[in-house]
């Protein structure tokens, strides 16, 4: 199944494999799944997870254990923009629920869902270490802090 992985992804995995002892290829599961996900519109199909496992000589289940453990791996298709709203303690105290509710209403989706046009996916995530400016959310790789419903609206307007 490894033919599902592109040449570039394989090269990147190979580069990471060099960082671990030869008999511990399992260590490369995390980065390998990440590259594979990034090269596939940010999500991992079952077949892709299997492909990564096979590329690293691991049983399929070993890759699924990792892929299901971390919320950063998406096991179903996601929107172009992932809205990851922090739901941990500091943000919670600063009413992140209000932000989530606002997004739910505005986008007409539930947490974990993707808008019909495939633009946004809404997720609630664990602490992203920006407590000082709670509440916050991460959109793809960028942080947006000190959120209010109004600010959220203006941020979303800037996204294509």
């Amino acid at each position: 199944m490894t033919e599902l992985l592109s040449k570039e992804v394989k090269a990147e995995i190979d580069r990471w494999l060099k960082k671990y002892p030869e008999d511990q290829k399992r260590s490369a599961l995390l980065p390998a799944l990440r590259f594979t996900q990034e090269a596939n519109d940010n999500w991992l199909s079952e077949d892709l997870v299997k492909a990564v496992a096979e590329y690293l000589d691991q049983p399929h289940i070993a890759a699924f254990e990792v892929a299901t453990f971390y919320h950063m791996y998406n096991l179903k298709p996601v929107g172009r923009y992932q809205l990851n709203v922090c739901g941990s303690i500091s943000c919670k105290l600063c009413d992140c629920k209000g932000i989530v509710d606002h997004l739910k209403q505005k986008l007409d989706i539930n947490v974990g869902d993707t808008t019909k046009d495939g633009k946004f996916t809404l997720k609630e995530v664990g602490c992203l270490a920006a407590c000082v400016n709670a509440p916050m959310m991460q959109i793809n790789k960028d942080y947006h802090e000190n959120l209010t419903p109004e600010r959220v609206d203006s941020i979303l307007e800037t996204l294509e």
């Binding site: 049983p59 289940i61 699924f64 453990f69």
Partner: protein
């Protein structure tokens, strides 16, 4: 050795031992769920928390090694408080469905909850529920009951060598499963039923059939392979309920293969024979034992008077007991014939007079784990003798290189240091190459040289000759070359034999060239192949169906059909999947025999271990133990000295014969090959007997039959051979064999060697095959 104190007891223990092991050795029980002596330490259930002096927190007894002077308290207030709290956590999400749970009564969680659980839960929220897995026909799941001890996961990666299960998700969403639905296909998968401390994994065939405390338990010995795993048969009101392993470190450790575990279903098959039958004027009639015996004796006597005693032959299943073999051997010799054999899947016998006491495994089974190098010749180990495969894997994990020369690139579940996949024709040449490499002559290939060097360098090396090689038409040359390689490299040779009691057949004289105890015979009788090549006038067949239990189904059936008189001693009327009834078709009298679970007897395993067992179940209907049938038949034939009143007396007679002939001191002599067998060109068969088709009993066990897959019903060949024959996956291949032709779907399998077509014997689609390895022509149908 260091000194520790557990619960006030001073103990001398080996350094590095964990607290739980040290306590267990001293007879102190610490509660646990995830710890298992045969698996790695996970320390994730926390049930074994104990108090250690000067340690600020309770310590997990399974993961804490003992130290000099350590004082451990397993039942102190602090330890008990910790254990109770862990128990409370475990019970938060565990359903209270013990009344409908199959594990109830033998559940570790239930037992420990009785001791450590609270009567009332502080927890009022809902419990989580988890979707069930479908793991196939053998293992039932109720994953809501799972407490995440991960024993099943560790069994898969550490013992089975195939990691099928894992823990996906995290925290409260964590669950044990395969993630992608699939059937557990490992040959030892049933062991996770025993390992599971709760009712999450239970036996599917035994589901809701009874409560463990109602079962009667009888020690027994598994009747399928030459290891003879120790078992307990559990029964309820004389009906077999299940089979579980009986610990024996020297044989099966704590494990049991699925074939040994689930074949008991065959005992309950409605294809069992319950009464004696005779064929009179072409019509089958149910008759009394007396009439059937008189009829059988009369038929045999008539045949031997009319055609001569050497026109009577006997073919016995290699799963017969030692006592049955002995009585059959004496009966045949009493009649005046030496034509008796149990090697029904072999076809090369020319070295039989050189063999030792019996073909078997060198040393003990534990020795396999201790080898420094292992060479596997012609064997699909995992699907022949699973326990030996397990031990080879352990040796490999201990660092021994495992090498293989095979006709199909079998998945042996080890990292093969060297792997030669040769066509059936080239197989012998490859062995010759290895011998040449050791002799320093010829031009061995690099692989042959590497195998030779590894064997020579190893202090202890073993060459394991498997079933595929045993059934090969050049089996004698293979044995001779293996012996030569062993002599030159200092290795030992192990033979894996068919059935549960091939060794017993040699000991008891169920071979044409030696009587009981290996006593010499003036002129050897006909072996199995000679008996069917030149059909005799009368046969006694025991425990076999000619279609599925011989290597030459067409010839065997024809020989029996042609005979004037055939006595079939059998447990089953026919084979469950068979379209026609080979036994009814070929026999003149059928004497119903009980399977080994219903009789006392002895199996001699491949290491020469005589394992006696008692009948665990009541004989069904009028069926009788094989030894009684043969004893009475001998009486009807008016043969002398057949006055045995118990199987023990028969066993004593065998023991006396063994001692009288000093059988056990007999050593195997090597045959010196003067020339290699001629090679032929063209397409040849490579035939294997599927694990769950090996004998009558397992063929009648429905759950195991569901484990067969398409590969067993197909003709498998590699891409090159397929191209050569212009065949593609999904085509129908018309296979023209020496006698008849048959049609099978094509499956492309690049594990098969060139110019070979891999087939499965003992299947309906191949019951018209001429032999296991002969040449065939294949065309597209």
């Amino acid at each position: 050795m260091i000194t520790v104190e557990i619960d006030g007891k001073k103990l001398e223990v080996q350094e590095g031992t964990s607290i739980i092991e040290a306590a267990e050795n001293a007879g102190i029980w610490i509660p646990r769920f995830c710890y298992h002596k045969k698996l790695s330490v996970a320390a994730n259930c926390r049930m074994c928390l104990v108090e250690v002096e000067k340690a600020p927190k309770p310590m997990a007894a399974c993961a804490t090694p003992v130290n000099e002077g350590m004082r451990i308290f397993t039942t102190s207030e602090k330890a008990l408080a910790a254990q109770k709290i862990v128990m409370e956590f475990l019970l938060i999400n565990h359903p209270l469905d013990c009344p409908i749970c199959d594990q109830g009564g033998e559940c570790e969680l239930q037992d420990i909850a009785m001791g450590y659980g609270r009567g009332i839960s502080k927890y009022s929220q809902g419990k989580r529920s988890v979707e069930d897995e479908d793991l196939g026909p053998l293992i039932a799941t109720d994953m809501t009951r799972c407490i995440h001890c991960t024993r099943c996961v560790r069994f898969g990666s550490e013992v089975a060598g195939v990691r099928e299960m894992g823990m996906t998700g995290r925290g409260e969403h964590g669950r044990i499963g395969t993630y992608i639905k699939h059937t557990m296909s490992h040959e030892m998968s049933g062991n996770i039923i025993d390992l599971c401390p709760v009712g999450a994994l239970t036996s599917k065939p035994n589901r809701f059939e009874g409560r463990s405390w109602e079962f009667d338990q009888m020690a027994s010995v598994a009747s399928h392979d030459c290891v003879g795993s120790n078992t307990f048969i559990h029964s309820l009101r004389h009906e077999a309920m299940r089979v579980v392993p009986r610990d024996n470190e020297n044989i099966n450790e704590v494990w049991l293969s699925d074939r040994d575990r689930f074949s008991y279903e065959g005992v309950k098959s409605h294809h069992r024979l319950h009464e004696p039958r005779i064929k009179k004027n072409g019509e089958w009639q149910v008759v009394s034992w007396h009439e059937a015996m008189a009829f059988a004796a009369e038929g045999l006597r008539t045949a031997s008077e009319k055609w001569g005693a050497d026109q009577v032959g006997a073919l016995a299943s290699p799963n017969s007991t030692l006592e049955e073999f002995y009585l059959l051997s004496r009966l045949m010799r009493g009649v005046g014939s030496n034509h008796i054999d149990h090697r029904l899947r072999e076809s090369d016998f020319s070295d039989q007079t050189l063999r030792g006491a019996f073909p078997g495994i060198a040393g003990s089974l534990n020795d396999i784990n201790q080898q420094n190098a292992i060479l596997v010749l012609g064997s699909d180990l995992r699907r022949e003798v699973p326990i030996v495969a397990h031990r080879v894997r352990q040796a490999n994990k201990n660092g021994a290189p495992v090498m293989a020369v095979n006709m199909i690139d079998h998945d042996l579940n080890v990292d093969l240091a060297e792997n030669i996949v040769a066509s059936p024709d080239d197989f012998v040449q490859q062995l010759s190459g290895i011998a040449d490499a050791l002799n320093g002559k010829g031009e061995p290939t690099s692989e042959q040289k590497a195998i030779a060097d590894t064997l020579k360098a190893a202090e202890k090396a073993n060459i394991i000759i498997g079933h595929v090689a045993l059934h090969h038409p050049n089996a004698v040359a293979i044995r001779a070359l293996a012996n030569a390689i062993a002599d030159l490299s200092g290795a030992t040779v192990s033979h894996l034999t068919d059935g549960a009691n091939s060794a017993g057949a040699w000991v008891a004289g169920a071979i044409p060239h030696r009587a009981a105890g290996g006593a010499a015979i003036e002129t050897a009788g006909l072996n199995y192949l000679e008996m069917i090549d030149n059909p005799l006038h009368a046969y006694i067949v025991m425990g076999i169906s000619p279609d599925f239990d011989t290597a030459h189904p067409v010839k065997a059936r024809a020989a029996l059909n042609k005979a004037d008189f055939v006595v079939s001693i059998s447990s089953f009327t026919s084979d469950i999947l068979s379209e026609s009834d080979a036994i009814y078709e070929t026999a003149d009298v059928i004497l119903p025999m009980v399977p080994s679970a219903e009789t006392s007897g002895t199996f001699v395993n491949a290491t020469g271990n005589w394992q006696q067992f008692q009948g665990a179940l009541k004989p069904q209907g009028e069926a009788r133990p094989g030894w009684k049938i043969l004893r009475v038949l001998a009486n009807f034939l008016k043969l002398k000295d057949f006055e045995y009143t118990s199987s023990d007396e028969v066993l004593d007679a065998v023991k006396a014969a063994v001692e009288a002939n000093d059988l056990m001191s007999r050593v195997e002599k090597s045959l010196v090959l003067t020339s290699l067998p001629a090679t032929t060109s063209g397409i040849a068969k490579v035939t294997q007997v599927p694990l769950y088709r090996a004998d009558q009993l397992v063929r009648h066990a429905p759950a195991l039959q569901h484990q067969l897959d398409e590969s067993h019903r197909s003709a498998r060949l590699n891409t090159r051979t397929a191209k050569l024959l212009k065949l593609a996956s999904g085509d129908r291949a018309v296979i023209q064999d020496a006698d008849e032709s048959y049609v099978l779907p094509v499956m492309i399998d690049d594990k098969v060697s060139d110019n070979a077509v891999a087939l499965s014997a003992a299947m309906v689609g191949t019951k018209t095959m001429s032999d296991f390895f002969g040449p065939i022509t294949v065309t597209k149908g």
